[in-house]
Amino acid sequence: MSSVKRIRLFITPYLGLIAAALAVAAVPLVTPDRYVLKVLVYVGVNVIVIAGLALLFGHAGQISMGHAAFVGIGAYTSAYLVKTLDAPWLVGVLAATVLAAAGGLVLALPALRLRGHYLAMATLGFSEIMYVVFREARAITGGNDGLGGIPYPEVAGLKIDTPVGVYLLVWGVALLTLLLVLNILRSRPGRAMRALQATENGALACGIDTVGLKIRTFALSAALAGLAGALYAHGVGFISPSTFGLDQSVIYMAIVVVGGAGSLAGPTLAAVVLTLLPYADALVPGLSKDTIAVMQDWEADIYGLAMIAVVIFAPAGIGGLLKRIRLRGAGEVRS
Protein backbone atom coordinates (compact mmCIF):
# COMPACT_ATOMS: atom_id res chain seq x y z
CA MET A 1 0.00 0.00 0.00
CA SER A 2 1.51 3.33 -0.97
CA SER A 3 1.74 6.04 1.65
CA VAL A 4 -0.75 8.22 -0.27
CA LYS A 5 -3.37 5.48 -0.10
CA ARG A 6 -2.63 4.93 3.56
CA ILE A 7 -3.07 8.61 4.32
CA ARG A 8 -6.40 8.48 2.48
CA LEU A 9 -7.56 5.56 4.56
CA PHE A 10 -6.38 7.38 7.65
CA ILE A 11 -8.18 10.67 7.07
CA THR A 12 -11.41 9.22 5.66
CA PRO A 13 -13.04 8.76 9.09
CA TYR A 14 -12.30 12.39 9.99
CA LEU A 15 -13.74 13.54 6.66
CA GLY A 16 -16.81 11.45 7.47
CA LEU A 17 -17.08 13.20 10.81
CA ILE A 18 -16.85 16.64 9.16
CA ALA A 19 -19.50 15.62 6.61
CA ALA A 20 -21.71 14.44 9.50
CA ALA A 21 -21.20 17.80 11.27
CA LEU A 22 -22.24 19.68 8.13
CA ALA A 23 -25.31 17.47 7.74
CA VAL A 24 -26.23 18.04 11.39
CA ALA A 25 -25.92 21.81 10.94
CA ALA A 26 -27.97 21.75 7.73
CA VAL A 27 -31.03 19.98 9.16
CA PRO A 28 -32.53 22.95 11.09
CA LEU A 29 -32.11 25.12 7.98
CA VAL A 30 -34.02 22.62 5.87
CA THR A 31 -36.77 21.83 8.34
CA PRO A 32 -37.60 23.59 11.60
CA ASP A 33 -40.30 20.96 12.22
CA ARG A 34 -40.70 20.19 15.94
CA TYR A 35 -41.47 16.51 15.46
CA VAL A 36 -38.54 15.90 13.11
CA LEU A 37 -36.12 17.58 15.53
CA LYS A 38 -37.51 15.63 18.47
CA VAL A 39 -37.00 12.35 16.63
CA LEU A 40 -33.48 13.44 15.69
CA VAL A 41 -32.70 14.23 19.34
CA TYR A 42 -33.57 10.64 20.11
CA VAL A 43 -31.31 9.51 17.24
CA GLY A 44 -28.43 11.63 18.57
CA VAL A 45 -28.83 10.15 22.05
CA ASN A 46 -28.62 6.66 20.55
CA VAL A 47 -25.54 7.58 18.54
CA ILE A 48 -23.76 8.45 21.82
CA VAL A 49 -24.75 5.14 23.41
CA ILE A 50 -23.77 3.19 20.31
CA ALA A 51 -20.37 4.91 20.02
CA GLY A 52 -19.51 3.63 23.49
CA LEU A 53 -20.92 0.18 22.84
CA ALA A 54 -19.10 -0.07 19.50
CA LEU A 55 -15.89 0.53 21.43
CA LEU A 56 -16.77 -2.08 24.06
CA PHE A 57 -18.23 -4.84 21.90
CA GLY A 58 -16.91 -4.06 18.45
CA HIS A 59 -13.32 -3.46 19.49
CA ALA A 60 -12.68 -4.83 22.97
CA GLY A 61 -14.98 -7.81 22.32
CA GLN A 62 -17.02 -7.53 25.55
CA ILE A 63 -20.77 -8.09 25.57
CA SER A 64 -23.08 -5.84 27.59
CA MET A 65 -26.73 -6.72 27.93
CA GLY A 66 -27.31 -3.81 30.30
CA HIS A 67 -26.50 -0.59 28.51
CA ALA A 68 -30.09 0.65 28.68
CA ALA A 69 -29.77 0.47 32.47
CA PHE A 70 -26.76 2.81 32.35
CA VAL A 71 -28.75 5.18 30.14
CA GLY A 72 -31.48 4.97 32.80
CA ILE A 73 -29.06 5.68 35.63
CA GLY A 74 -27.87 8.77 33.79
CA ALA A 75 -31.39 9.93 32.99
CA TYR A 76 -32.79 9.53 36.51
CA THR A 77 -29.68 10.90 38.23
CA SER A 78 -29.66 14.13 36.28
CA ALA A 79 -33.45 14.50 36.30
CA TYR A 80 -33.59 14.03 40.08
CA LEU A 81 -30.69 16.36 40.82
CA VAL A 82 -31.85 19.17 38.57
CA LYS A 83 -35.62 18.90 38.94
CA THR A 84 -36.02 17.84 42.57
CA LEU A 85 -32.85 19.20 44.14
CA ASP A 86 -32.48 22.30 41.93
CA ALA A 87 -28.89 21.49 41.04
CA PRO A 88 -27.37 23.26 38.01
CA TRP A 89 -27.83 21.34 34.76
CA LEU A 90 -24.10 20.79 34.20
CA VAL A 91 -23.77 19.29 37.68
CA GLY A 92 -26.65 16.93 36.93
CA VAL A 93 -25.13 15.78 33.65
CA LEU A 94 -21.70 15.38 35.19
CA ALA A 95 -23.09 13.38 38.13
CA ALA A 96 -25.07 11.21 35.68
CA THR A 97 -21.92 10.41 33.73
CA VAL A 98 -19.82 9.71 36.81
CA LEU A 99 -22.49 7.58 38.49
CA ALA A 100 -22.98 5.46 35.36
CA ALA A 101 -19.22 4.99 35.11
CA ALA A 102 -19.09 3.99 38.77
CA GLY A 103 -21.92 1.51 38.21
CA GLY A 104 -19.97 0.12 35.27
CA LEU A 105 -16.85 -0.27 37.42
CA VAL A 106 -18.72 -2.04 40.22
CA LEU A 107 -20.16 -4.46 37.69
CA ALA A 108 -17.02 -4.96 35.61
CA LEU A 109 -14.46 -5.37 38.40
CA PRO A 110 -15.63 -8.82 39.53
CA ALA A 111 -17.08 -9.95 36.17
CA LEU A 112 -14.04 -9.14 34.06
CA ARG A 113 -11.53 -10.76 36.37
CA LEU A 114 -13.03 -14.02 35.17
CA ARG A 115 -12.71 -15.04 31.56
CA GLY A 116 -15.74 -16.03 29.56
CA HIS A 117 -19.28 -14.74 29.36
CA TYR A 118 -19.60 -13.61 32.95
CA LEU A 119 -19.92 -9.99 31.90
CA ALA A 120 -22.86 -10.78 29.62
CA MET A 121 -24.60 -12.60 32.48
CA ALA A 122 -23.76 -9.91 35.03
CA THR A 123 -25.03 -7.10 32.80
CA LEU A 124 -28.20 -9.07 32.05
CA GLY A 125 -28.92 -9.39 35.75
CA PHE A 126 -27.96 -5.76 36.33
CA SER A 127 -30.41 -4.65 33.65
CA GLU A 128 -33.29 -6.51 35.34
CA ILE A 129 -32.37 -5.24 38.81
CA MET A 130 -32.14 -1.64 37.66
CA TYR A 131 -35.50 -1.97 35.89
CA VAL A 132 -37.08 -2.93 39.22
CA VAL A 133 -35.28 -0.04 40.94
CA PHE A 134 -36.54 2.46 38.33
CA ARG A 135 -40.09 1.21 38.89
CA GLU A 136 -40.04 0.93 42.66
CA ALA A 137 -37.87 3.82 43.88
CA ARG A 138 -40.88 6.08 43.47
CA ALA A 139 -39.56 8.96 45.58
CA ILE A 140 -36.80 9.49 43.03
CA THR A 141 -38.04 7.99 39.78
CA GLY A 142 -41.77 8.52 39.98
CA GLY A 143 -42.28 4.80 39.45
CA ASN A 144 -44.27 3.45 36.53
CA ASP A 145 -45.96 6.80 35.97
CA GLY A 146 -42.61 8.23 35.02
CA LEU A 147 -40.96 11.55 35.80
CA GLY A 148 -42.18 14.59 33.90
CA GLY A 149 -41.41 18.27 33.76
CA ILE A 150 -37.66 17.76 33.71
CA PRO A 151 -36.08 21.20 33.14
CA TYR A 152 -34.46 22.08 29.84
CA PRO A 153 -30.66 22.18 29.66
CA GLU A 154 -29.13 25.38 30.96
CA VAL A 155 -25.49 26.30 30.50
CA ALA A 156 -24.04 29.43 32.15
CA GLY A 157 -27.43 31.07 32.57
CA LEU A 158 -28.42 30.31 28.99
CA LYS A 159 -31.56 28.18 28.82
CA ILE A 160 -31.65 25.86 25.82
CA ASP A 161 -35.40 25.50 25.48
CA THR A 162 -36.05 25.56 21.74
CA PRO A 163 -36.28 22.36 19.64
CA VAL A 164 -33.38 23.57 17.47
CA GLY A 165 -31.25 24.37 20.52
CA VAL A 166 -31.80 20.98 22.13
CA TYR A 167 -31.15 19.27 18.80
CA LEU A 168 -27.88 21.12 18.28
CA LEU A 169 -26.76 20.45 21.87
CA VAL A 170 -27.39 16.70 21.66
CA TRP A 171 -25.76 16.36 18.26
CA GLY A 172 -22.83 18.54 19.29
CA VAL A 173 -22.17 16.14 22.14
CA ALA A 174 -22.73 13.17 19.82
CA LEU A 175 -20.14 14.44 17.33
CA LEU A 176 -17.65 15.12 20.13
CA THR A 177 -18.26 11.60 21.42
CA LEU A 178 -17.55 10.15 17.97
CA LEU A 179 -14.36 12.21 17.79
CA LEU A 180 -13.29 10.94 21.22
CA VAL A 181 -13.93 7.30 20.32
CA LEU A 182 -12.20 7.72 16.96
CA ASN A 183 -9.12 9.14 18.67
CA ILE A 184 -9.07 6.30 21.19
CA LEU A 185 -9.26 3.77 18.36
CA ARG A 186 -6.35 5.43 16.59
CA SER A 187 -4.10 5.50 19.64
CA ARG A 188 -2.38 2.81 21.69
CA PRO A 189 -5.42 1.74 23.74
CA GLY A 190 -7.35 1.21 20.48
CA ARG A 191 -4.59 -0.94 19.06
CA ALA A 192 -4.40 -2.87 22.31
CA MET A 193 -8.17 -3.45 22.09
CA ARG A 194 -7.86 -4.90 18.61
CA ALA A 195 -5.02 -7.10 19.83
CA LEU A 196 -7.15 -8.24 22.75
CA GLN A 197 -10.01 -9.10 20.42
CA ALA A 198 -7.73 -11.06 18.08
CA THR A 199 -6.23 -13.20 20.88
CA GLU A 200 -6.22 -12.50 24.60
CA ASN A 201 -3.24 -14.80 25.24
CA GLY A 202 -1.25 -13.06 22.53
CA ALA A 203 -2.13 -9.69 24.07
CA LEU A 204 -0.97 -10.93 27.49
CA ALA A 205 2.29 -12.17 25.98
CA CYS A 206 2.91 -8.64 24.70
CA GLY A 207 2.48 -7.17 28.15
CA ILE A 208 -1.01 -5.75 27.63
CA ASP A 209 -2.95 -5.49 30.89
CA THR A 210 -6.04 -7.08 29.34
CA VAL A 211 -8.18 -7.08 32.49
CA GLY A 212 -7.47 -3.41 33.15
CA LEU A 213 -8.14 -2.54 29.52
CA LYS A 214 -11.51 -4.32 29.56
CA ILE A 215 -12.55 -2.70 32.84
CA ARG A 216 -11.57 0.80 31.70
CA THR A 217 -13.35 0.34 28.37
CA PHE A 218 -16.47 -0.89 30.12
CA ALA A 219 -16.47 2.06 32.52
CA LEU A 220 -16.01 4.53 29.65
CA SER A 221 -18.81 3.00 27.63
CA ALA A 222 -21.10 3.02 30.69
CA ALA A 223 -20.18 6.69 31.25
CA LEU A 224 -21.16 7.56 27.67
CA ALA A 225 -24.47 5.73 28.16
CA GLY A 226 -25.07 7.76 31.34
CA LEU A 227 -24.26 10.99 29.51
CA ALA A 228 -26.68 10.04 26.74
CA GLY A 229 -29.36 9.29 29.34
CA ALA A 230 -28.95 12.72 30.95
CA LEU A 231 -29.21 14.47 27.57
CA TYR A 232 -32.30 12.43 26.78
CA ALA A 233 -34.00 13.29 30.09
CA HIS A 234 -33.53 17.04 29.71
CA GLY A 235 -34.08 17.05 25.97
CA VAL A 236 -37.37 15.15 26.01
CA GLY A 237 -38.54 16.27 29.47
CA PHE A 238 -40.18 12.99 30.44
CA ILE A 239 -38.73 9.58 31.34
CA SER A 240 -40.25 6.30 32.43
CA PRO A 241 -38.83 2.84 33.24
CA SER A 242 -39.97 1.16 30.00
CA THR A 243 -37.38 3.16 28.03
CA PHE A 244 -34.53 1.58 30.00
CA GLY A 245 -35.48 -2.09 30.00
CA LEU A 246 -33.74 -5.21 28.81
CA ASP A 247 -35.38 -5.04 25.37
CA GLN A 248 -33.69 -1.68 24.78
CA SER A 249 -30.31 -3.17 25.80
CA VAL A 250 -30.84 -5.94 23.26
CA ILE A 251 -31.69 -3.36 20.61
CA TYR A 252 -28.44 -1.52 21.34
CA MET A 253 -26.45 -4.73 20.86
CA ALA A 254 -28.38 -5.48 17.66
CA ILE A 255 -27.49 -2.05 16.29
CA VAL A 256 -23.77 -2.66 16.91
CA VAL A 257 -23.95 -6.11 15.28
CA VAL A 258 -25.80 -4.76 12.24
CA GLY A 259 -23.34 -1.87 12.09
CA GLY A 260 -20.40 -4.21 12.20
CA ALA A 261 -17.94 -5.17 14.93
CA GLY A 262 -14.59 -3.46 14.52
CA SER A 263 -16.11 -0.38 12.89
CA LEU A 264 -17.30 2.98 14.19
CA ALA A 265 -18.92 4.40 11.04
CA GLY A 266 -21.00 1.24 10.55
CA PRO A 267 -22.65 1.20 14.00
CA THR A 268 -23.14 4.98 13.85
CA LEU A 269 -25.01 4.67 10.55
CA ALA A 270 -26.95 1.70 11.89
CA ALA A 271 -27.90 3.74 14.95
CA VAL A 272 -29.25 6.52 12.75
CA VAL A 273 -31.15 4.26 10.33
CA LEU A 274 -32.56 1.80 12.85
CA THR A 275 -33.60 4.53 15.30
CA LEU A 276 -35.33 6.44 12.53
CA LEU A 277 -37.16 3.40 11.20
CA PRO A 278 -40.10 3.47 13.66
CA TYR A 279 -40.40 7.23 13.13
CA ALA A 280 -40.13 7.17 9.36
CA ASP A 281 -43.19 9.46 9.17
CA ALA A 282 -41.01 12.30 10.42
CA LEU A 283 -38.88 12.11 7.29
CA VAL A 284 -41.16 10.71 4.61
CA PRO A 285 -44.19 13.00 4.24
CA GLY A 286 -47.44 11.33 3.37
CA LEU A 287 -46.56 7.99 4.94
CA SER A 288 -49.83 6.62 6.29
CA LYS A 289 -50.41 6.31 10.03
CA ASP A 290 -51.15 2.61 9.58
CA THR A 291 -47.77 1.94 8.01
CA ILE A 292 -46.03 3.67 10.91
CA ALA A 293 -48.13 1.83 13.45
CA VAL A 294 -47.19 -1.49 11.84
CA MET A 295 -43.52 -0.53 11.80
CA GLN A 296 -43.58 0.47 15.47
CA ASP A 297 -45.37 -2.75 16.43
CA TRP A 298 -42.83 -4.81 14.52
CA GLU A 299 -39.79 -2.81 15.60
CA ALA A 300 -38.15 -5.67 17.49
CA ASP A 301 -38.89 -8.10 14.65
CA ILE A 302 -37.40 -5.74 12.07
CA TYR A 303 -34.23 -5.48 14.17
CA GLY A 304 -34.16 -9.25 14.55
CA LEU A 305 -34.50 -9.79 10.81
CA ALA A 306 -31.82 -7.19 10.10
CA MET A 307 -29.50 -8.99 12.52
CA ILE A 308 -30.12 -12.39 10.92
CA ALA A 309 -29.60 -10.92 7.45
CA VAL A 310 -26.31 -9.39 8.54
CA VAL A 311 -25.04 -12.59 10.13
CA ILE A 312 -25.87 -14.55 6.96
CA PHE A 313 -25.03 -12.12 4.17
CA ALA A 314 -22.57 -9.58 5.59
CA PRO A 315 -20.94 -10.81 8.81
CA ALA A 316 -18.82 -7.66 8.99
CA GLY A 317 -22.00 -5.56 8.97
CA ILE A 318 -22.42 -2.12 7.45
CA GLY A 319 -18.88 -1.30 8.57
CA GLY A 320 -17.52 -4.19 6.51
CA LEU A 321 -19.37 -2.97 3.41
CA LEU A 322 -18.08 0.58 3.98
CA LYS A 323 -14.52 -0.69 4.29
CA ARG A 324 -14.80 -2.59 1.03
CA ILE A 325 -16.01 0.55 -0.72
CA ARG A 326 -13.20 2.58 0.85
CA LEU A 327 -10.51 0.09 -0.12
CA ARG A 328 -11.89 0.01 -3.65
CA GLY A 329 -11.72 3.81 -3.67
CA ALA A 330 -8.09 3.57 -2.58
CA GLY A 331 -7.47 1.10 -5.41
CA GLU A 332 -7.10 -1.91 -3.20
CA VAL A 333 -9.61 -4.71 -2.77
CA ARG A 334 -9.00 -7.52 -0.40
CA SER A 335 -11.16 -10.57 -0.55
Binding site: T199, G202, A205, G262
Partner: protein
Protein backbone atom coordinates in the same frame (compact mmCIF):
# COMPACT_ATOMS: atom_id res chain seq x y z
CA UNK B 1 21.88 -7.87 27.47
CA UNK B 2 20.72 -11.11 28.94
CA UNK B 3 19.78 -11.61 32.55
CA UNK B 4 19.57 -14.90 34.37
CA UNK B 5 16.39 -16.79 35.09
CA UNK B 6 16.32 -18.91 38.27
CA UNK B 7 13.53 -21.28 39.16
CA UNK B 8 13.68 -23.00 42.53
CA UNK B 9 11.41 -25.61 44.10
CA UNK B 10 8.57 -24.75 41.75
CA UNK B 11 5.19 -26.44 42.07
CA UNK B 12 2.43 -25.61 39.57
CA UNK B 13 -0.94 -27.23 39.06
CA UNK B 14 -4.49 -26.85 37.91
CA UNK B 15 -6.71 -26.88 40.99
CA UNK B 16 -5.49 -29.66 43.22
CA UNK B 17 -3.80 -31.60 40.47
CA UNK B 18 -0.07 -30.96 40.52
CA UNK B 19 1.47 -30.87 37.06
CA UNK B 20 4.90 -29.50 37.86
CA UNK B 21 6.53 -30.69 41.08
CA UNK B 22 9.66 -29.34 42.74
CA UNK B 23 11.42 -28.07 39.64
CA UNK B 24 14.82 -26.37 39.85
CA UNK B 25 16.02 -24.81 36.62
CA UNK B 26 18.22 -21.91 35.67
CA UNK B 27 19.34 -20.07 32.57
CA UNK B 28 22.57 -18.12 32.94
CA UNK B 29 23.04 -14.77 31.16
CA UNK B 30 23.67 -15.38 27.46
CA UNK B 31 22.91 -19.07 27.70
CA UNK B 32 20.51 -21.12 25.57
CA UNK B 33 18.82 -23.82 27.61
CA UNK B 34 16.60 -26.53 26.16
CA UNK B 35 13.74 -28.08 28.07
CA UNK B 36 12.70 -31.35 26.48
CA UNK B 37 10.30 -34.13 27.36
CA UNK B 38 7.34 -35.97 25.96
CA UNK B 39 3.81 -34.64 25.61
CA UNK B 40 2.20 -33.98 28.97
CA UNK B 41 5.46 -33.91 30.89
CA UNK B 42 4.59 -30.42 32.18
CA UNK B 43 6.82 -28.29 29.97
CA UNK B 44 4.08 -25.91 28.81
CA UNK B 45 2.67 -25.63 32.34
CA UNK B 46 6.12 -24.67 33.61
CA UNK B 47 6.41 -21.99 30.90
CA UNK B 48 2.96 -20.63 31.71
CA UNK B 49 4.03 -20.18 35.31
CA UNK B 50 7.25 -18.44 34.21
CA UNK B 51 5.27 -16.06 31.97
CA UNK B 52 2.71 -15.36 34.71
CA UNK B 53 -0.25 -17.07 33.04
CA UNK B 54 -0.50 -19.57 35.92
CA UNK B 55 0.24 -18.93 39.57
CA UNK B 56 2.70 -21.39 41.14
CA UNK B 57 1.55 -23.05 44.35
CA UNK B 58 5.07 -23.06 45.77
CA UNK B 59 8.62 -22.12 44.86
CA UNK B 60 10.22 -19.02 43.38
CA UNK B 61 11.00 -17.62 39.96
CA UNK B 62 13.62 -14.88 39.77
CA UNK B 63 14.62 -12.78 36.81
CA UNK B 64 17.99 -11.18 37.45
CA UNK B 65 17.69 -9.62 40.91
CA UNK B 66 13.90 -9.54 40.89
CA UNK B 67 11.47 -12.08 42.25
CA UNK B 68 8.73 -12.42 39.62
CA UNK B 69 6.85 -15.29 41.26
CA UNK B 70 3.09 -14.78 40.87
CA UNK B 71 3.40 -11.46 39.02
CA UNK B 72 0.73 -10.83 36.36
CA UNK B 73 1.96 -11.42 32.79
CA UNK B 74 2.04 -7.74 31.79
CA UNK B 75 4.39 -6.92 34.68
CA UNK B 76 6.67 -9.83 33.83
CA UNK B 77 7.04 -8.55 30.26
CA UNK B 78 8.05 -5.19 31.75
CA UNK B 79 10.70 -6.93 33.85
CA UNK B 80 12.31 -8.16 30.61
CA UNK B 81 10.96 -11.62 29.94
CA UNK B 82 9.20 -12.25 26.62
CA UNK B 83 7.28 -15.36 25.65
CA UNK B 84 6.82 -16.69 22.14
CA UNK B 85 3.70 -18.68 22.91
CA UNK B 86 2.82 -22.08 21.55
CA UNK B 87 0.56 -21.68 18.52
CA UNK B 88 2.11 -18.22 18.02
CA UNK B 89 -1.01 -16.26 19.15
CA UNK B 90 -0.55 -13.55 16.53
CA UNK B 91 -3.08 -10.79 15.97
CA UNK B 92 -4.45 -12.25 12.73
CA UNK B 93 -6.41 -9.37 11.22
CA UNK B 94 -3.70 -6.84 12.09
CA UNK B 95 -0.79 -6.15 9.78
CA UNK B 96 2.75 -7.41 10.30
CA UNK B 97 3.84 -3.90 11.30
CA UNK B 98 0.97 -3.56 13.78
CA UNK B 99 1.86 -6.90 15.34
CA UNK B 100 5.42 -5.66 15.83
CA UNK B 101 4.13 -2.34 17.22
CA UNK B 102 2.01 -4.17 19.79
CA UNK B 103 5.10 -6.17 20.72
CA UNK B 104 6.53 -2.85 21.90
CA UNK B 105 3.37 -2.03 23.87
CA UNK B 106 5.19 -1.90 27.19
CA UNK B 107 7.59 0.77 25.95
CA UNK B 108 6.81 4.51 25.97
CA UNK B 109 5.06 5.81 22.84
CA UNK B 110 7.93 8.13 21.98
CA UNK B 111 10.71 5.61 22.53
CA UNK B 112 12.90 6.18 19.50
CA UNK B 113 14.53 2.80 19.96
CA UNK B 114 11.33 1.13 18.78
CA UNK B 115 11.92 2.10 15.15
CA UNK B 116 15.50 0.84 15.22
CA UNK B 117 14.39 -2.36 16.93
CA UNK B 118 11.86 -2.92 14.18
CA UNK B 119 14.57 -2.40 11.58
CA UNK B 120 16.68 -4.91 13.47
CA UNK B 121 13.85 -7.49 13.50
CA UNK B 122 13.34 -6.89 9.78
CA UNK B 123 17.05 -7.46 9.22
CA UNK B 124 16.83 -10.77 11.09
CA UNK B 125 13.68 -11.80 9.20
CA UNK B 126 13.66 -9.92 5.86
CA UNK B 127 10.29 -11.39 4.93
CA UNK B 128 8.70 -9.27 7.69
CA UNK B 129 9.84 -6.14 5.83
CA UNK B 130 8.55 -7.46 2.49
CA UNK B 131 5.14 -8.22 3.94
CA UNK B 132 4.89 -5.34 6.41
CA UNK B 133 1.36 -4.19 5.43
CA UNK B 134 -0.07 -7.69 5.07
CA UNK B 135 -2.47 -9.03 7.73
CA UNK B 136 -0.63 -11.57 9.88
CA UNK B 137 -3.21 -14.27 9.13
CA UNK B 138 -2.25 -14.23 5.45
CA UNK B 139 1.36 -15.26 6.17
CA UNK B 140 2.60 -18.83 5.83
CA UNK B 141 3.18 -20.85 8.98
CA UNK B 142 6.92 -20.24 8.90
CA UNK B 143 6.50 -16.50 8.34
CA UNK B 144 4.02 -16.39 11.22
CA UNK B 145 6.54 -18.05 13.53
CA UNK B 146 9.14 -15.50 12.45
CA UNK B 147 6.65 -12.73 13.24
CA UNK B 148 5.95 -14.28 16.64
CA UNK B 149 9.68 -14.25 17.46
CA UNK B 150 10.03 -10.73 16.04
CA UNK B 151 7.07 -9.49 18.07
CA UNK B 152 8.60 -10.90 21.27
CA UNK B 153 11.91 -9.16 20.49
CA UNK B 154 10.14 -5.78 20.22
CA UNK B 155 9.90 -5.46 24.01
CA UNK B 156 13.71 -5.73 24.25
CA UNK B 157 13.69 -8.82 26.45
CA UNK B 158 16.63 -9.94 28.50
CA UNK B 159 15.26 -13.46 28.59
CA UNK B 160 13.46 -14.94 25.59
CA UNK B 161 11.23 -17.95 26.23
CA UNK B 162 10.00 -20.01 23.29
CA UNK B 163 7.29 -22.67 23.42
CA UNK B 164 7.57 -25.22 20.59
CA UNK B 165 8.88 -22.85 17.91
CA UNK B 166 9.47 -25.65 15.38
CA UNK B 167 6.01 -27.18 15.61
CA UNK B 168 4.52 -27.95 12.19
CA UNK B 169 7.18 -26.12 10.19
CA UNK B 170 9.27 -27.20 7.20
CA UNK B 171 12.93 -28.07 7.92
CA UNK B 172 14.23 -25.12 5.91
CA UNK B 173 12.10 -22.65 7.89
CA UNK B 174 13.12 -24.27 11.17
CA UNK B 175 16.77 -23.87 10.19
CA UNK B 176 16.21 -20.17 9.45
CA UNK B 177 14.53 -19.56 12.80
CA UNK B 178 17.17 -21.43 14.80
CA UNK B 179 19.89 -19.54 12.98
CA UNK B 180 18.34 -16.34 14.37
CA UNK B 181 18.15 -17.86 17.85
CA UNK B 182 21.86 -18.70 17.59
CA UNK B 183 22.58 -15.11 16.59
CA UNK B 184 20.60 -13.73 19.52
CA UNK B 185 22.36 -16.02 21.95
CA UNK B 186 25.74 -15.03 20.50
CA UNK B 187 24.78 -11.42 21.23
CA UNK B 188 24.21 -12.27 24.85
CA UNK B 189 20.48 -12.91 25.11
CA UNK B 190 19.36 -15.63 27.51
CA UNK B 191 17.06 -18.16 25.87
CA UNK B 192 14.84 -20.85 27.34
CA UNK B 193 13.62 -23.18 24.65
CA UNK B 194 10.88 -25.76 25.05
CA UNK B 195 10.92 -28.24 22.20
CA UNK B 196 9.39 -31.55 21.31
CA UNK B 197 12.11 -32.03 18.73
CA UNK B 198 14.79 -32.97 21.25
CA UNK B 199 17.45 -33.56 18.63
CA UNK B 200 17.03 -30.06 17.22
CA UNK B 201 16.89 -28.43 20.65
CA UNK B 202 20.01 -30.19 21.98
CA UNK B 203 21.92 -29.38 18.81
CA UNK B 204 21.51 -25.65 19.42
CA UNK B 205 21.38 -25.35 23.20
CA UNK B 206 24.24 -25.05 25.69
CA UNK B 207 22.52 -27.06 28.37
CA UNK B 208 19.40 -29.11 28.62
CA UNK B 209 16.81 -30.38 31.06
CA UNK B 210 14.70 -33.48 30.52
CA UNK B 211 11.26 -33.32 32.10
CA UNK B 212 9.24 -36.40 32.93
CA UNK B 213 5.91 -36.53 34.80
CA UNK B 214 6.29 -32.98 36.04
CA UNK B 215 9.81 -33.42 37.41
CA UNK B 216 13.28 -32.77 36.10
CA UNK B 217 14.58 -36.26 35.35
CA UNK B 218 17.95 -35.33 33.88
CA UNK B 219 20.06 -32.27 33.28
CA UNK B 220 23.42 -31.49 31.83
CA UNK B 221 25.38 -30.04 28.93
CA UNK B 222 23.44 -30.42 25.69
CA UNK B 223 25.96 -32.66 23.95
CA UNK B 224 26.07 -35.01 26.92
CA UNK B 225 22.29 -35.29 27.00
CA UNK B 226 22.24 -35.90 23.26
CA UNK B 227 24.55 -38.87 23.78
CA UNK B 228 22.88 -40.14 26.91
CA UNK B 229 21.60 -43.69 26.44
CA UNK B 230 18.28 -42.98 28.22
CA UNK B 231 17.62 -39.73 26.34
CA UNK B 232 18.50 -41.28 23.00
CA UNK B 233 16.19 -44.14 23.61
CA UNK B 234 13.25 -42.12 24.89
CA UNK B 235 13.40 -38.87 22.91
CA UNK B 236 15.75 -39.27 19.99
CA UNK B 237 14.15 -42.31 18.42
CA UNK B 238 16.83 -44.70 19.69
CA UNK B 239 19.18 -44.04 16.83
CA UNK B 240 22.75 -43.09 17.65
CA UNK B 241 23.32 -39.37 17.51
CA UNK B 242 25.48 -38.22 14.66
CA UNK B 243 26.79 -34.72 14.98
CA UNK B 244 27.63 -32.73 11.91
Amino acid sequence: MGADLRIAGLHVGYGRIGVVTDVDLHVDPGEMVALIGSNGAGKSTLLKAVAGLLKPSAGTIALGERDITGMPPEKIVRQGLALVPEGRMLFGPLTVDENLAIGAHTRPARDEGVASDRARVQALFPVLAERHTQPAETLSGGEQQMLAVGRALMCRPQVLVLDEPSLGLAPRVIAAIFEVLDTLRAEGMSILLVEQDARLALKHADRGYVMRSGEIALEGPAHELANDEQVRHAYLGGRPETRE
